[in-house]
Symmetry: C2
Subunit: 216 residues, 2 copies
């Protein structure tokens, strides 16, 4: 059917496409996939040949209906497996992404659906990302970035946009997790770092970090 390489490309295109009309460029992909621009061009042509993307030379690609369906299916599997690992096997949220990168390629529709049932139809994965339904429907997370809050404003952390081990370990160290109520105490104008109150402790976090935290 489709190779793992193809699946990974589709997923990456999906995550880079902010709106369905936007074309994803060769370099953006090469950057995301940690690979060579020429490799990306070749894969673009291949995916176009399979009607998974629309490809215009020198312009980039956008997902076809079919390609989008595939991409969302990958996201669904990835997030269901992450949820399984945390909820059932007691992994912590920073350990699951890499394993899910492998598990998402297991090909069995019925397995995915049974897993979802076993997990009790979770709406969000361990990082607060919404889990697409078997029909490909996807809730929109309506939180706002921590960087958008003003002083004295507060909210609950509902989503992290970076699932890397390094980032999540940083949050662990600062005792920050999903569901925490966070209040902005001060904003340093020079570097836009933010002093926050986490109910129990105060921390100063960089803009870089804050950009990846979504609150409601």
């Amino acid at each position: 059917m489709h190779s793992q390489a193809e699946e990974n490309y589709l997923k990456a295109i999906y995550s880079l496409q902010n709106n369905p009309r936007q074309e994803v460029s060769t370099t953006a992909m090469a950057d995301k996939m940690q690979t060579n621009a020429s490799s990306v061009t070749e894969m673009f042509r291949k995916l176009a040949g399979k009607d998974l993307v629309h490809y215009r030379k020198y312009r980039g690609v956008q997902l076809t209906r079919q390609g989008k369906t595939m991409a969302i299916s990958m996201v669904r599997k990835h997030r269901l497996w992450e949820t399984f690992l945390v909820e059932k096997l007691n992994f912590s949220w920073e350990e699951v992404h890499d394993i899910a990168e492998q598990l998402e390629h297991i090909q069995s529709e019925v397995l995915t659906d049974r897993l979802e049932h076993f997990l009790g139809y979770p709406k969000y994965d361990p990082h607060g990302d919404p889990i697409p339904s078997s029909k490909g429907e996807l809730l929109k997370v309506k939180g706002k970035r921590l960087t958008e809050l003003k002083i004295e404003e507060e909210g609950v952390l509902i989503n992290v946009k970076d699932s890397s081990e390094e980032f999540l370990k940083y949050l662990n160290k600062k005792n920050l997790g999903l569901g925490d109520r966070i209040k902005v105490i001060a904003i340093e104008p020079f570097d836009k770092s933010i002093k926050i109150d986490n109910n129990t402790q105060e921390h100063v976090i960089s803009e870089q970090i804050a950009k990846n935290l979504y609150l409601k």
Copy 2:
């Protein structure tokens, strides 16, 4: 590390090696792997280069200590995943083998160990095959073949040696499953087919089928 192809070859060599001294031939492998003899030769050389097998030209291969460890690790993962699929996701025993063929290639030692813990350290998989421990220890199933029983002898079905969907669906149709008490009523000398009593029903099964059923 190791490719899926390498892992599959090691597992196949392990299953063809009746005793650790026995050399597995190129054609036996080609037959098992549904591939070409020349492909097998090339993989034998490659595995020998990685010290996973001892290879003597024109003689065949046997697993090295290292190769055996790898092979048993694959078997362990395969059987744990099959158990998961049946015990937790309510698959039936004929549906799990092909999915486990994919899942066994997921690389994460800690995942395997956590899965085993989650399943409560099962000793046997859904087909009655023993599950190797994390140290590679493996119980020996000490059942005897149904074909070895004499008339009026009986036993409990504890293991099936064929995990293919077709074979297991046949057993389902005859209402035969692990744990069933089976008694030999008659043996047809001409084709060695066996009439059995399953407590509730009587069936005639071919020698071909009977060879794959192990009783205690």
